[in-house]
């Protein structure tokens, strides 16, 4: 059942065929070399499961290894916040799955084969084809939306399952499933803020990145649903450093809260300047799901007490074992994408078990049909990390997320609704 996306290439024109074949061979070699040039965290391709380990596996086989091809982001600007934590989380989950014997009945073990494609879409597509040619039809991808958009038609064409930490795009019958839901937590955050007294909100939005506009819209929807309003919005550029004019203008509105939909460093800088300007003393500072540690790193004590939603954070009740194990293995606290990577691998394992129980062959196609059911299953609630996680049939995950703040030492700390209310009311 080898799937080669070039298999439907017309083969007429016999006279030209040898030349075409040579050209195709040369092209394939060049493309393969390009893909191979990327840093790999996995073994050599020759040691991979190959086609017999991937798509050829059948339910009746015993002790089979299924290769999961990971289009990993291990270098570049997205590596540290997204790519590496995602990979580490997935790697840890596969170790846990193996150790727990969860798939022992199926005889299946997974081998995660990561190839670093950074955020280079061409490298990603080349590597996807290379994996596919080796019979792999189950893929992981970290947080890169352009990459996911490029893989989407290829996944459908080859009936390959693609589980990703990038943002979701609804598509009926999709073979791409996004495990990231940043919208629901943003809407919920807006609702919560309005409920706790922040009715007049001003916002600063990074206009260079559409994502921040999407977050701001989701936040606004939530806020307005509970009677609040964004009374003034200022759009800034990610390269801006001086915000005194913007802040003077926003302070004039006498807001209850300032919502910052910007990069973490920019948000910290704005908070610092808000503190310096002194016009926002009793005003709540609110942020987006994109906020990370650099908010505190740049903003310092100005960031303490700021409120923001997150998809997940370390230190949550019930995740202590994961936190400890992750820190022990990788020497740092798990990031949000560590949890998403971990959850992704477990989702694959649970879906695999369900497919096996149905007596079907474990393939990208059979797993694709099972992912939504697996996502809400009791097994996922037991083994997964993201609370109240569901997966829609159109490939988009939904979960409420959590609320967080920066503690005095800068640690990102999850807070309950009572603490939220206390901080929101000053």
């Amino acid at each position: 059942m080898r799937r080669n996306i070039n298999s439907d290439t017309p083969t007429g024109h016999a006279r030209g065929a040898p030349r075409s074949a040579i050209a195709a061979l040369v092209l394939t070699s060049v493309l393969a070399a390009c893909g191979g040039a990327a840093t790999s965290s996995g073994d050599d391709q020759s040691d991979a499961g190959g086609e017999s380990d991937g798509g050829e596996a059948s339910a009746s086989d015993e002790a089979r290894t299924i290769t999961v091809g990971e289009l990993a982001i291990l270098t570049g600007i997205k590596a540290e916040p997204y790519g590496i934590p995602f990979h580490d989380g997935a790697e840890m989950a596969f170790a846990d799955i193996e150790e727990s014997g969860y798939l022992a009945d199926t005889g299946i073990t997974f081998e995660l084969k990561a190839e670093d494609v950074a955020t280079d879409v061409n490298a990603g597509v080349t590597q996807f084809n290379k994996f596919t040619q080796d019979g792999v039809d189950i893929f992981f991808g970290a947080a890169d939306t352009p990459m996911t958009d490029a893989i989407r038609p290829l996944a459908a064409q080859t009936k390959s399952l693609y589980l990703t930490g990038a943002g979701g795009k609804p598509e009926e019958g999709s073979f791409v499933f996004s495990l990231v839901d940043s919208i629901t937590p943003m809407v919920r955050f807006g609702e919560q803020l309005a409920t706790n007294g922040s009715q007049r909100v001003v916002s600063i939005v990074d206009g260079d990145n559409d994502t921040f506009g999407i977050f701001a819209d989701a936040f606004k929807n939530g806020l307005e649903s509970k009677g609040g309003a964004v009374v003034q919005t200022s759009t800034i550029s990610m390269n801006d450093t001086d915000f005194s004019s913007v802040l003077t203008k926003l302070a004039k509105e006498r807001p209850d809260a300032v919502y910052l939909s910007t990069l973490s460093e920019t948000a910290g800088n704005i908070m610092r300047q808000m503190q310096t300007q002194g016009a926002f003393k009793d005003v709540v500072t609110a942020g987006s799901v994109a906020w990370q540690d650099p908010v505190y790193g740049t903003g310092g004590d100005a960031a303490v007490g700021a409120l923001f939603p997150r998809m997940w954070t370390a230190g949550l009740a019930g995740a202590e074992t994961f936190d400890r194990a992750y820190e022990s293995k990788y020497g740092e606290a798990p990031a949000t994408y560590s949890a998403i990577g971990y959850h992704t691998a477990w989702l694959l394992a649970v879906a695999t078990k369900l497919v096996h129980e149905d007596g079907d062959e474990v393939t990208g196609e059979t797993l694709q049909a099972m992912i939504p059911e697996a996502a809400s299953s009791p097994d996922m609630r037991e083994h997964g990390l993201i609370a109240d996680f569901t997966m829609r049939a159109d490939g988009v995950a939904e979960y409420p997320g959590i609320f967080a703040t920066f503690a005095d030492d800068g640690t990102i700390t999850a807070i309950d609704e009572a603490t939220f209310a206390k901080l929101a009311k000053g």
């Binding site: 200022s234 550029s237 001086d242 003077t248 460093e265």
Partner: protein
């Protein structure tokens, strides 16, 4: 009215940074006739130096500041000797110098990225005490006061240097006619090296102020201000110390007013629209005069 005055204050503070950048840039432009865009790299390194000295070595800002000014000046002198001096006798030396300077800027930015561990850094929060005063309708912070005061002092010092000293006369002479100056006994290389030192030092001053005020030091810091500084030079008039200074201030105020009264989204559109308008009405710049006695 309060809002207007506050935005003017904000604009003057921001414009002071533009002005310091433009002053240094303008000096070299007058001296060599070259767009020394590598100045952006020197500016970035000014911020790297102050971060290195205060955060990594724990020096007080008051001690680090003059060191940064000297180091930035020396770095710019290095740029002159490495990238520009040997191109002076080429027929198309302005373009060659521009490209060479661009290369230096790219190299310096790359090295800065390494020096900053690939991340945006900041000064220690305690590096400069932050106070805020209400002066009638205006709220002024100690950082704004530092920026405006330092920019004015730098401008006055530079004017005195250019107009009242032997060095200044030599600078003006070289700017007017390099070959004739050489025949008259002016050591052109020494003058150019000193011009680059002063230019780099001004960049260092601006970089320290930006690092203190805006709290982010990254390898692209100089690039962020480059285009605005060039605009300030064009608006003020090429090679004109007073023009570059007032051009920088003007752009800061226009930028601030656009944010305050229109929208921050159109800030750059308005700033560069003003630039085009100035070029149409007064192609030589707003602050040039027939006898540009202070032409550097």
């Amino acid at each position: 009215m309060d809002f207007f005055l506050q935005q003017v204050t904000n604009g003057v503070a921001l414009g002071s940074v533009f002005a310091l950048y433009a002053l240094g840039f303008s000096l070299v432009l007058a001296n060599l006739g070259t767009f020394h865009v590598g100045h952006a790299g020197v500016f970035t390194w000014g911020a790297v130096f102050v971060w290195f000295l205060t955060d990594r070595h724990g020096l007080p800002l008051a001690v680090a500041f003059p060191l940064v000014v000297a180091l930035s000046g020396l770095l710019n002198v290095g740029c002159y000797f490495v990238a520009l001096r040997h191109l002076e006798r080429r027929r198309n030396n302005a373009m060659a110098g521009f490209i060479s300077s661009l290369g230096v800027g790219i190299v310096l930015a790359g090295l800065a990225l390494e020096a900053l561990d690939g991340e945006a850094q900041r000064l220690p929060f305690s590096a400069f005490p932050v106070e805020t005063w209400d002066l009638g309708p205006i709220r002024l912070s100690s950082i704004q006061l530092l920026i405006i005061g330092t920019a004015i002092a730098s401008f006055l010092l530079l004017r005195w240097l250019v107009n009242r000293t032997q060095f200044g006369r030599e600078v003006q002479s070289v700017a007017y006619d390099r070959e004739t100056s050489t025949m008259l006994g002016v050591n052109v290389d020494r003058v150019s090296a000193l011009v680059f030192f002063v230019s780099g030092a001004l960049g260092g001053v601006g970089a320290v102020l930006v690092a203190v005020a805006y709290n982010v030091i990254d390898s692209r810091l100089g690039e962020v201000y480059l285009l605005v500084a060039i605009t300030a030079v064009v608006v003020g008039g090429f090679g004109n110390v007073r023009g570059a200074f007032l051009g920088g201030l003007s752009i800061g105020v226009v930028s601030s007013m656009t944010t305050g009264y229109v929208t921050s989204s159109y800030r750059d559109v308005v700033v560069f629209g003003v630039l085009m308008l100035v070029l149409v009405i007064r192609p030589t710049g707003l602050f040039t005069s027939p006898a540009t006695a202070e032409r550097a």
